[in-house]
């Protein structure tokens, strides 16, 4: 069996390589840029939208908050969830092949339940803000405004993550896409937590938790081809 490539292959490969442009910006640089841009983008979207809708920059942390300690604890844990899921999903590892499939599956499987456990099981808000009289703003029980805010954060985050890891996932690219989707969803979840003072269970599930699951699926479907070499 021939175990060395035929000599006629080299000129063909050489010609194809010379005719094909290749990016030279290192992936590590793009990952650091993504890790810097996404939190800033999230903060900017929340501050602007919250100011526009509620007339104050972080309505979810100011209106109808039952306990400041609980609020700060949950806020810290949600930030940690977003940072950790993003870092693991973007991590290239020493082989340049990323983290293993079990770790990726863990990210994909854990982000939604952890977020739901932190924000839905014992809601920070009593639900008083769902009454128009308190805030002067009607909050939809279906969380449409929060879905919109989540999309405003998650879509650019997903694009930035895809650009950071473009052609960099030779292994488990679908799972990597799903993990990046979950990370983008985690940032979206963090944003709606800061933005929204609702304590309505249906609102929390549809407007806050569902987008994370949706963006995890979108990541798995839409990012796979972009991530493959």
């Amino acid at each position: 069996m021939a175990t060395i490539p035929s000599e006629r292959l080299y000129p063909r490969i050489r010609a194809a390589v010379e005719a094909t442009p290749a990016a030279t910006t290192r992936t590590r640089t793009r990952i650091f840029a993504a890790l810097a841009i996404v939190p800033l983008l999230t903060a900017a979207v929340v501050l602007i939208v919250s100011e526009v809708v509620y007339g104050q920059p972080t309505a979810g942390l100011r209106i109808d908050v039952s306990s400041v300690v609980a609020m700060l604890t949950i806020l810290g844990l949600l930030a940690a969830l977003a940072v950790a899921s993003t870092s693991f999903a973007l991590w290239q590892g020493r082989d340049g092949l990323g983290i293993g499939s079990i770790s990726l599956v863990s990210i994909v499987a854990l982000v939604v339940p952890v977020y739901a456990a932190l924000t839905v099981l014992r809601p920070l808000h009593s639900g008083a803000a769902d009454d128009v009289a308190l805030t002067g703003v009607a909050i939809s029980p279906w969380g449409l405004r929060c879905l919109f805010v989540a999309t405003l954060v998650a879509v650019p985050a997903l694009v930035i993550f895809a650009a950071a890891l473009r052609r960099a996932a030779a292994v488990s690219s679908s799972l990597r896409g799903a993990a990046l989707g979950a990370a983008a969803g985690a940032w979206a979840g963090f944003a709606v937590f800061v933005f929204c003072p609702s304590g309505n269970l249906q609102h929390l599930l549809v407007g806050h938790v569902l987008p994370i699951a949706i963006f995890t699926l979108i990541g798995a479907v839409a990012l796979t081809r972009a991530l493959r070499p």
């Binding site: 069996m1 035929s6 490969i13 290749a22 082989d95 070499p229």
Partner: protein
């Protein structure tokens, strides 16, 4: 590879010289025919070039290339599964005769050819996951950790897959009359 990743195009020839022999052998083992292996090999190099900025300094470029080659092979397999095409008979890569027999009597040649056919048939029948794990561990001599990184799975899974592949190859060869304690037909 680090210099190439930094954009030094002139080191391509050197890189090709270092990677090509083992990468080509890997593609030959993955693919069903020599023509398919050639295509897989060319596409792998092209993708390696396009993805060179993603290379992590210090990583083994050969294992990274293996991972890209497998990704290319799987993409091509998915493509051909969606668009099946009936091609004429082609020479299988395993048919080209790697086993060297000392005794070149006609009987020995027939036996060797028969074992070859059995091996080729069994390798093509087993799942891609088992086959690749077997190739990486037994033929390319990667450690279980390195093979697990290339395949994006755990070391235990790689060992199990390679073991399953080894067992099915051994069973097929035994059925064909080969004994691991001697080449006399059972």
């Amino acid at each position: 590879m680090e210099r190439y990743a930094r954009g030094e195009d002139r080191v391509f020839e050197q890189l090709y010289g270092l990677l090509a022999p083992r990468l080509y052998r890997f593609c030959m083992r993955l693919a069903a025919s020599a023509a398919e292996a050639d295509d897989c090999f060319q596409e792998t190099f092209l993708k390696l070039h396009r993805a060179r900025a993603t290379y992590v300094a210090g990583a083994n470029p050969l294992y990274w290339a293996f991972a890209i080659a497998r990704s290319v092979y799987l993409s091509r397999a998915r493509y051909w599964r969606r668009r099946p095409e009936q091609l004429g008979a082609t020479r299988d890569v395993a048919e080209a005769g790697e086993l060297q027999v000392q005794d070149t009597t006609p009987e020995a040649e027939v036996t060797a050819q028969h074992l070859h056919d059995t091996l080729a048939c069994e390798l093509s029948r087993m799942s891609e996951k088992n086959r690749v794990a077997y190739i990486l561990l037994r033929e390319e001599h990667l450690t279980a950790r390195e093979a697990a990184a290339v395949l994006g799975t755990t070391m235990e899974a790689v060992k199990q897959r390679a073991h399953r592949a080894y067992q099915s190859l051994r069973a097929a060869l035994n059925t064909a009359g080969w004994s691991e304690y001697g080449n006399d037909p059972v």
